[in-house]
Amino acid sequence: LSPQENSLLKSLGLSAKPSPKKPVPVPPVLWRMFQKRKALPWPDKERDSCRVEELNVPGDIVRVFADQGRFLPEGQPQGWLCLRKLLFFNLSVLEEGERLTMAQLELQFHHNSYQAPGPGQVLELRLYQASPRGLPQPQPGRRPLVERSFVHLHKSLLFNLSAALKMPGRSLALVLEISASGRAGASGSLRSLCASADAFSATSLLVVTLGQQCRAGRSRR
């Protein structure tokens, strides 16, 4: 690679020329944003170049990180633990001068679950922050980052993790737990409630940042 090409790539915000090894399909959300921006007329294009209108946040770089984590042994479940997984995102590509303005986690399932749960039965989803080096399981008494209950699982669940990622490190590690809870004695139906979590398919993290070019432009203005 010529020094000239390296220098040009650097000014475009890339440390080296990428050579995709396992190219993934373009996430539809990015494709939609790209098409929309391409169709904008000039003054709008200029005005919006440092803002992601679709997500209503400042930013000029939108990345989708694939999960590199693994399923974890269920350990000591409390109630019906349906799923426990380490979610791991390598954020080392974020440059030093970039300011994170949004982080959104998406959990995808193969299908929506429409099966009616028993009375008072719900699926409980918890996300704990974890250290990728240390024990990825949540410590007793530690508060989850996200805690939500669902009667039905949707095909896609979105969680805003912007507050948790205000000071992003080189990676983000989380433990995801989905458990079924409800009236005691209804274990058969709790088991079937757990089955809907088996449709777990993929996880991704959408991150919006404000690059140096936009930050410099903003301070000039």
Binding site: V26, S49, I61, V62, A66, S92
Partner: protein, 113 residues
């Protein structure tokens, strides 16, 4: 989809048509879209007298005056972009993540002296 600059063979400072194809520079395997774009460039002279349509700065007016007195020591003002617009690019980064990035100042819309 950018409007094409006029194709008049004028020697004066104007945007000239330049289509940048990413496959020409060997970047087609990591840039997903667009495959290329109409970037344009500025070309042409900034002669005396500087006409209004040449978007000349006050500095160019004075440089033209000094050039007329000392053509050897002071060059004529040059033709440069005065208005550029951004484009968006979808690409794979070094870790195979898909990135959508808005790059400012990528398309030359207007030139001036």
């Amino acid at each position: 989809s950018a409007p094409s600059p006029p194709l008049t063979p004028s020697p004066l400072c104007k945007p000239r048509r330049l289509y940048i194809s990413f496959s020409d520079v060997g970047w087609e395997n990591w840039i997903i879209a667009p495959q290329g774009y109409l970037a344009n460039y500025c070309g042409g002279d900034c002669p005396f007298p500087l006409a209004a349509e040449l978007n000349s700065t006050n500095h160019a007016v004075l440089q033209t005056m000094v050039h007329s007195l000392d053509p050897q020591g002071t060059p004529q003002p040059c033709c440069v972009p005065v208005r550029l617009s951004p484009i968006s690019m979808l690409y794979y980064d070094n870790s195979d993540n898909v990135v959508l990035r808005h790059y400012q100042d990528m398309v030359v819309d207007e030139c001036g002296c």
